[in-house]
């Protein structure tokens, strides 16, 4: 397949219904932190973007959205071309200026401090970071508590940013400022809003 076809093809077959379906999963995920929601693979984007990651981008981004991409994504002309063609997004080089961040290489991602946390008057002016993962059957299980969770929720993403619990505790302490995380797995997604309290699961 030529570069051009890769860039121009693979969007939602039905943009209205596709975006609605993905958004509902995202909304449910944000409202139920750590719960994994299955989503069908509705788009096909060039590597390294996975179908779920690309579908989230196609659902949330347009020319009013500022987006930062990590090195492994921005290194792919095809991936960037696809994102630009299908969403019209505005790429930014400073993660603190981004409404959204796309991270493929989770272990190497910048510290949470590098992103926008919003202001105390406008805490919504913060970055939503979207992480691309293998899945939700990781070895390290986290216990989540907070709004959206009845008692506790187990959460085991296959990859996590470095020093995750420490970093997340810092993020939590800045509330109402802070970043929110979306996890794009394979045929599934989950989210951690800034309100969620995270601990290592007791054995």
């Amino acid at each position: 397949m030529s570069t051009n076809t890769q860039v121009f093809e693979g969007g939602f077959a039905n943009p209205v219904m596709g975006a609605q379906q993905i958004f509902r999963a995202l909304m449910d995920a944000m409202a139920n932190p750590g719960r994994v929601f299955d989503v069908p693979e509705l788009v096909a984007a060039p590597a390294p973007l996975t179908p779920v990651m690309a579908a989230i981008a196609a659902t949330l981004f347009d020319h009013d959205a500022t987006v930062w991409c990590d090195k492994s994504i921005s290194a792919s002309k095809e991936a960037i071309g696809w994102l630009k063609f299908h969403t019209g997004l505005e790429l930014v080089s400073d993660p603190a200026a981004a409404q959204f961040a796309l991270v493929k290489d989770v272990a190497a991602m910048p510290s949470f401090e590098a992103f926008a946390k919003g202001t105390s008057e406008y805490p919504d002016r913060s970055t939503t970071v979207i992480l691309q993962l293998d899945g939700f059957e990781g070895e390290n299980v986290l216990t989540l508590r907070g709004p959206g969770i009845k008692d506790t929720q187990d959460f085991a993403p296959s990859q996590l940013p470095k020093m995750f619990i420490d970093q997340w505790t810092g993020n939590r302490a800045a509330f109402p400022r802070g970043i929110d995380l979306i996890f794009a797995g394979r045929e599934a997604l989950a989210a951690l809003p800034r309100t969620t309290r995270v601990a290592k699961k007791e054995a």
Partner: protein, 293 residues
């Protein structure tokens, strides 16, 4: 279908939906905080549910079943009008049953039947800012929220007590969400406030004219403001519903004559009709013979 030809699914264009969807995600992440959004002009007047309609339109899909209530009733004219709007523009399935609905858009009530996980309650909000009547300026109230400076609200409630012996706020009674933001629950009677607390449903609030969206995720602390010596309490009605005999529901007063005659009936028509269908009767119901219960 020709009627539909010129408008997108659920009326809003996709770019508008994306903008609203981004605001909804932020609203859920910051419970009780009012997210500004570029509310659009809708084909119904501002103040008549344009915020709720925009939220519903951004969320709704072909698998949903929509219920619309105004004052607790499915049959009030504005509820009928909004339901018809979504039937026309989204061809969506509608219901009057609280339990069957996946999305319930409401004005002024929370259904009596407890909501369940997975349901979405969309409130139409006229004035989203709980501090607005104390301080009309947006620039000031925004600072007060930022600094968590809610003393003025307590002073206002306490002045009521000093003057009237009661907190004189009976609807749109302010709540604190997850210990942080003071939030306006929309003009629901304070009777409904306890239903918001740790509700399994997702609660979304849309204020179209004032261009704000806010949210309460499931299982979130929602506490009505009060004082140790004047704890929050809800209204109670001395008589049961005249049609279904229910106690402990919110009642509408219906005037029967010009000599002071009136009766009280459930404001939640679905709840009331369901009870009547299951044989419950009140003293004025259609079949008084069965009112022995």
């Amino acid at each position: 279908m020709t009627e539909l030809a010129t408008y997108n699914f659920a009326y809003l264009d996709e770019q508008t939906k994306r903008m609203i969807r981004r605001a909804i995600l932020k609203a859920i992440a910051i419970p009780g905080y009012q997210v500004p959004f570029a509310s659009r002009e809708m084909p119904m007047p501002y103040g008549w549910g344009t915020g709720g309609v925009q939220v519903t339109a951004a969320v709704i899909g072909p698998d949903d079943r929509l219920k619309v209530i105004d004052q607790g009733a499915d049959d009030t004219t504005n509820a009928v009008s909004i339901r018809a709007f979504f039937q026309k523009t989204a061809n969506v399935r509608v219901t009057t049953s609280t339990t069957e609905a996946t999305i319930i858009q409401t004005r002024h009530r929370i259904p009596e039947t407890p909501l369940t996980a997975g349901q979405i309650l969309v409130y139409q909000v006229p004035i989203p800012e709980p501090l607005r009547f104390l301080e009309p300026r947006e620039t000031e109230t925004r600072k007060m929220h930022a600094l968590e400076e809610y003393g003025l609200m307590h002073v206002k409630l306490y002045e009521d007590i000093a003057r009237h012996g009661h907190i004189a706020t009976t609807y749109a009674y302010p709540v604190k969400v997850e210990g942080r933001y003071v939030m306006d629950p929309s003009p629901t009677p304070k009777f409904d406030n306890p239903k918001m607390h740790r509700s399994p449903a997702l609660q979304l609030f849309g204020a179209g004219r004032e261009k704000r969206i806010y949210a309460v995720p499931p299982y979130t602390e929602v506490v009505s403001l009060d004082f140790e010596d004047h704890p929050f309490e809800i209204q109670s009605f001395s008589e049961p519903c005249a049609l279904c005999g229910a106690r402990g529901t919110y009642l509408d007063e219906v005037i029967l004559d010009d000599k002071g005659g009136s009766m009280f009936v459930c404001s939640d028509t679905d709840f009331c009709e369901d009870r009547q269908a299951h044989g419950h009767c009140g003293h004025l119901s259609a079949n008084p013979a069965e009112a022995a219960e």
